[in-house]
Every structure is written in C-alpha cells, then in structure tokens.
C-alpha cells in the first residue's frame, strides 16, 4: 500500500499562494478558512538574511495524534495512501484533534466538523496530483509514494538535503522541505 507524502523545494518556492488559492477553489473551502498556507521564516540582520518560504498543510503524519485522540473514529488513517482523513458524519466537533495537532493544520468547518487538507484524495484517486501541486507555477511541489524508491519524492529525498517540521513533536510528518 502506498504511503503518500509531499516533497517541497523551498529554494524554488516564491510564496505566491497559488497553492492556497487553488486549494480554496478545488475544495470549495469556505471563506475565511484555509487548508494550506505560506510560512516565511527570515533570520538574521539586514542585509545578511536567510529566508525559507514554505507551503504548509496537514502533514498526514505516520503517527497522527489527531487520529489517536479522536473519540469517534472520525479522524482516521485511510487505507488508500495512508492518508489522514476526517469522516464528517462521525465527527462531533469536540476539537481535541485541533488541540492535538502541533502544526495547527485543522479548523472547524462552518458546518461544525473538523476539516483540513485531504491531499486532494478525490484527485489522487483519479491519478492526478493534489490541486496545490498541480497548480504550482514554480514546480516546487512534488507528491507521491514515499515508500516507493522509484517515485520522484523518494528520489528527491535521497538526493537532496531536507527537513520536516517539528520532528521533535514525534508525529513523523510526511511533508518534507528541500533546502
């Protein structure tokens, strides 16, 4: 079974928010909410600065605390691609999953259920990339099976320097940032 993840090249990313906008239209994310976002980290003193721009979203962790804490099984690990998804018909809106996520990747949909990035599973099942990956004008985002050594994501991880977010939180995130 595949284990889907993302590899994002921060050297190419310009933080244009196309991923954010594409996610909004593709997934009809309600106004005022986002499933993905841009983080910019600048360190140093002018003019000697180092910058990392990242397109961030749910990490679809291998050890997802949002799944563990969910009292109803709404948050679950899907067999398909080991994606972390929310069944909105099981969700009671207790918000434990929001509190459990070190990335603050979730929010409460105006209809009351916990919502977040699905890796565009509806597209992935049709063999397409997630909307954010497909739209990116800098082609900085890559999606695929981390367990398949022939996949582009696996090759990039094998050949480039990379890091994930808050590995110390112990969730084993599946989005990796090339630096």
């Amino acid at each position: 079974m595949a284990r889907f993840g993302m590899v994002i090249d921060t050297l190419r990313c310009v933080g244009c928010m196309d991923c954010v906008v594409a996610c909004k239209t593709e997934n009809e994310v309600p106004e005022g909410f986002c499933r993905d976002w841009i983080t910019t980290e600048v360190r140093g003193k002018f003019p000697t600065l180092t910058t990392e721009i990242r397109s961030e979203r749910c990490n679809h962790c291998d050890r997802p605390p949002c799944v563990t804490c969910c009292p109803t099984g709404a948050s679950h690990v899907e067999d398909f691609g080991r994606l972390v998804l929310v069944d909105r018909e099981l969700c009671i809106g207790c918000k434990a999953c929001l509190a459990s996520c070190p990335y603050d990747a979730r929010f409460i949909h105006p209809e009351g259920y916990a919502d977040k990035c699905t890796f565009c599973v509806h597209r992935v099942r049709e063999g397409k990339d997630p909307a954010c990956v497909a739209v990116c004008p800098t082609r900085c985002m890559h999606f695929g099976d981390l367990d398949d050594p022939r996949s582009e994501v696996a090759k990039l991880l094998a050949s480039r320097r990379h890091h994930a977010l808050l590995p110390e939180a112990g969730t084993r995130p599946r989005i990796h940032f090339l630096t």
């Binding site: 594409a22 909004k24 009809e28 004008p137």
Partner: protein, 731 residues
Amino acid sequence: MAILSRRRFLQVGSVAGAGAALAAARGPAWDRFLGPAAAGDRIETVPTYCDLCFWKCGAIATKKNGRLWKLEGNPEDPLSRGRLCPRGTGGVGAHFDPDRLTAPLVRGKRRGEEAWVEVTWDEALERVAQGLAAIAAEHGPEAVAFFSHGIGGNFLKHTFRAFGTPNFVAPSYAQCRGPRDIGFQLTFGEEVGTPERTDIANARCLVLIGSHLGENMHNSQVQEFAEAIGAGASLIVVDPRHSVAASKAKHYLPIKPGTDIALLLAWMNVLVAEELYDRELVASHGFGFDAFRAEVAPWTPEWAYPITTIDPATIRETAREMARHRPATLVHPGRHVTWYGDDAQRSRAVALLDALLGSWGRRGGFYYPSSVPVPKYGGYPDYPRAARGPVDNPGGRYPFADLGLTNGIREATLTGEPYPIKSWFVYATNLLQAMPNQEETIRAIQRLDLLVVVDTHPSEIAGWADVVLPECSYLERYDDLNTEPFREPFVSLRQPVVEPPTDQKPNWWIARELAVKLGLERYYPWREVEEYLEARLAGAGLSLAEMKRRGVFRGAPAPLYFDDGVPMEFPTPTGKIEFWSPQLAAAGFDPVPRFRPHEEPPPGYFRLLSGRAPVHTFARTQTNPILAEAMPENEVWVNADVARRLGLTAGARVRLRNQDGVVSAPVPVKATERIRTDCVYMVHGFGHTAPGLRRALGKGASDAQLMTRYAVDPLMGATGTNVNFVTFEEA
C-alpha cells in the same frame, strides 16, 4: 459569496471511478471526507485565456452543474504551460465578486458625488453618443481621448479610430514599461516587448535590478525564474528591499535607492577595464565603443561605493560573475521602471550592460519572439484622417516617446493646449490609482464635458464619470485573439465560460452599439463577434470551432537565437548596437548614460517605494473575494531598527504623510529586517476610496495617493514616482 458556500455535509453516492478495492477501505461513504466532486455532478470544461493581468495565459475553466468551479492552466498554452498564477487561479472570484457593476449608470448630481441613476443600455449609449457628437461638432473628434488597458480595449479603440481621434493612451506606457522599451530601442533598435523576450529559463546568471520576480507574478517569467534557480543559475539581486528574489540570490546588493545608474556604470567600467566584455560582438556590431569606453572609464567601483553603498569588492565580484557566464547572463530589463525620471537612460544602461555581455539574441539572454501571422480583420473601411495630431506630446517635447502619454493628455486637458480635450473615454483602467498626482487628474476631469468609464467595477475613476458602462468579466465574453509574440508562436481565444450575472455587456458589443449610435455602422460589417473572429482565424487557416474546443493553437517554432539562424541585425540608425548614441547626442541628451544624484529625503522622511504582490494586479483585484482573502490589505514595510527608534509597533496602524502634506489612510506597520533604513515600501493597489468597492474600502493605504510628485523623463515623457518622501503619523 456563493462559490464558497458551505457544502452539504453529506453527499450521498460515491465518486466516479472509485475502485472496488477502495470500497473495503475504512468509512463506508467516501464523500464524507472527499473533495467536492460527486458522482452525478455535471462537469464541463471551457478553454479561454486569462484577464487577471495582461499576460493572457491560456486557461481551462471547469463548471460543475453549470456553475463556475475552478480555473486551471491550459497545458497546450505556452504562456501558462498548464499552470496559472494565483491571480489566474483566483479568477473564479472575478465572476462571483459581489462588488461588480450591475447596470449602466448615469450621474445624478455633481461630478465626484456618487449619486447615480440606473438606466438602460440604450439610454446610456445614446447619452454617450450625443455627448461625443456634440464635442466633435464643437471641438472636432480629436477632443476625445481614449484611455485603455489590456486587449479588451481593442474594439473600442476601433470605434474611436473610426470616430476620428488620434488620442489613444495607456498607463502601461508612461507609468510603467515605456522607458525600458525606449532604452532598449536606443541601444539595440528593438524593444523588450510584452511578454518580455527574456530567456530566463536558460540564463546561467540572472541579474535583477529592482525586479521582484516571484512577487511580481508574470506567469512565464516566474516559471522560468524557478527553473533557473533549480538549474543552479547564479542570481544577483539589486534592491533596497530584501525581496523574495533577493532571498534566493547568490549576491544581494542592498543598494541605496535612486543610484542604480551608478552601479550599472561601475559594472560596465569593470567589464571594460578588465576586458571581460564580448569583444567579438563589440568589434563586429558595436557603434561608438571607443567613446563609450572613455565615458565609463572614470566610473570605477570606488567611485560608485559612496553613491550606492555597495562596496567595490562586491561590485567587481558581481561584474566578474556576470562575465563568467556570458552570454547566458541576463540583466533583466524589468517592467515597471518609472522610478526617477531618468528611467530611459537607466534602461539604456541595462541594455548597454547586456550588450557588453553579448546576451541579446543569445541563449540565456534575450530571444527573438515570434507570432502566428493572423491577419487583421479585412472588411473595415479606412479610418478618417485626424485633422490634428496627438495632443499629448506637442512639438515632440519628448523626442523619443513612441506611444501616447496619459500625463500628456491630462496636461492638455488642463491647459487646453495645443488644443482642448473635452472627453475622456476610459476602458478598464483606474486612472486615479494608475497615475501620479490624483489632484491633477481630478482637476483635469473637472474640465471635461464628458467622462465615460467602461469597467467591471465601480472604481475610483468610475466615481467621477458621467456615464458608467458595466462590462462583463473576461469569463463572460469574447475578446480579440491573442497573438502576442513569444518564445513559441501561438494564437489563443477568449470565449464566454458563463453568463454575466446581470446586465453587463462585452466590450465588443458596447463598441459596436456605440459606433452604430455614432453613425459609424459601416465600420462594423460584422454583427456578432464570432463573425469577426471566424474571419480573422480563417485568414490564418484556423477555425473558430476548433479554437473554441482547444483554446490555443501553437504555430511552428521559429529560431530564437542568432546561433539558430536569427539574422544578426540591429535596426538602429547606424545598424549597430549603439554604445555611444548619435540619436541621443543629436537630441541634446547624454549619448552614454551618466549618473546624476536625486533629491534625498529630508530628515525624518523616508523614500516611498512600491511594488507588487503575487495575488493582486494593480488596483483591480482587491474586491475579488478569493484574492482579497489571500491578501486583504497592504502593509508599510519599515526597517525594524527604524520602527523601534520611532516607536512603531509591528501590526499597529499608522498614517503616512508625504512631503506635500498628503496623508494616507491607516495602514499596518510591517517592522522588518528586510528593508533599508532610508526607505519604506508598500504594495500598490490598496487604499481604495470608492464606496462601491465594498470589500476593498478602508483596506490599507494607496501609494498612488502619496505620489503627488513625479519626475518626467525628458527622453520620452514617463512619470517617475520614487521621488516621494513620507513620514509617519498616528492613525
């Protein structure tokens, strides 16, 4: 806003294509956690091209159950290569924007007071036609000036050519790219054009001077920029602000604003002194090089150091870096280059640097673009000859201006010289945000007999109009064919994807109806725009039906570089690259650019710089619900140390007061390490004051409002606006 309305929490049924194996997966109904497309949804796609900016990328619109759902790049299109920029993707919001104009409006009260009467199209156009006819009768048709932006103005331009005025202007010239194209023409005999003929993808060394690619989101350029970075190109960025591009640079040069020419001269000095330039090219195709050499000899990096604050070792190192990669070194000519009034000369300095590096016509430098030869529509009668020439540049005051100057029209409107201008017809450009010195624009408007605005939105300029004509958004109309020359020749079609929400009309219809009312029906042998498009496409051996299906047609690739067989010709008067310009000398200008210092901000003031954000275009997208959400307002960037010294808290609102006492709307402070201490920066396009732009009203501050001062380029009349200084006031 309907498109982002809450989805049904439970959609029964499963997604088309769900496999049997997946049915065994957890959760009985996929739709409980799936995206929005469910089985039974009627999905249709329509190819078109984007209008969120002038780049005109090929797009594919997807409708779900007849309703616009999303926009994606057309993979067939060489501009987008299947990927739109954030504005293009967010173009969905242009259709759903609740702040759009809905019906033709006629002024109810005095100008500037927004009291309107809704009228029918017939009444509105009748009123416009009568007004224009009266002006033509009294002052001649030349007394009408046509302002436009973008391809949507083509049909209206046609109507006004038929009407008989010679006065056509667009802010994209004198307020944006004009000086650049003049600087390059004076050097190579050719302009950079739109889309820029920059071969960024193949550059081994890319030099950006104030260009903030990545924030400035011209799609193909940004795609190529990322490719160049991915391929390990060496990036040199010159900017007083640590832009996104600067953050990726191998060399970041935090130049003092207004001193770029000094840096460019010093770079040329190093290339010449160290004989690092393309000597072969200079010998075979250079004109006046010895004089040029003598001119740049004094401008050493040591000379430039105190001017630019860039240390000489860095200037030398970067010059050598450029030479190392030549001719695949691209010194980018930029686009919005109207900064200090000496912009054509600065652009010429950029062109000269590119000439020394031999990058013109070379891979990784500037390619030769080509287009599919689609003939013009053949059935039009000849336009009448205007009795008088254009009003904007009397006596050739700006000898190198080759297109109309908006500011020239404004001046003529104010002075009545060389002849009076009595009507402005404005298509899709918000002149109050696009032109410096709003007060001057408003005074000029007050002298008009008739101001007509065609737009999708009740913009600031529309607020001053006598008649406002609501246009369809680009998703609801046909437009002229896009045949812009590019890396690969192509033709693309804009066609309606959805119906306009209310009584908006396409520009071609407005143009034709107005012509009919003006008694110019003979200029419109076609009734429906499809006939026009079909006729033009047939001339190129294409069909409208095929174009409607595919959106884009790609022509046979033509050679891009001298090495591929492009003839090495430079259409300057000397037929060579003019290092020393006889044209400039003859007109009394510096034949080789020289650095002249600009006025410094007085104590306590900071130079106001402005730029672009990737999710907005000009002042035209701030009410788009999707894009407004991505960036609802602008901030004023202030150096963190300065902010601390002045007691400005990050996120707190301040007002900016400029040297002439003009005070901005409140704008949040971005206290940051990413900018020099002698300037502040704002993204252009915010601080709207038009009450109809409800979503944008009161969001951020307008740089245009604070640009009361402008320096006119003596070569070609453009308005440099980085000459304004601001200080802070409590909000």
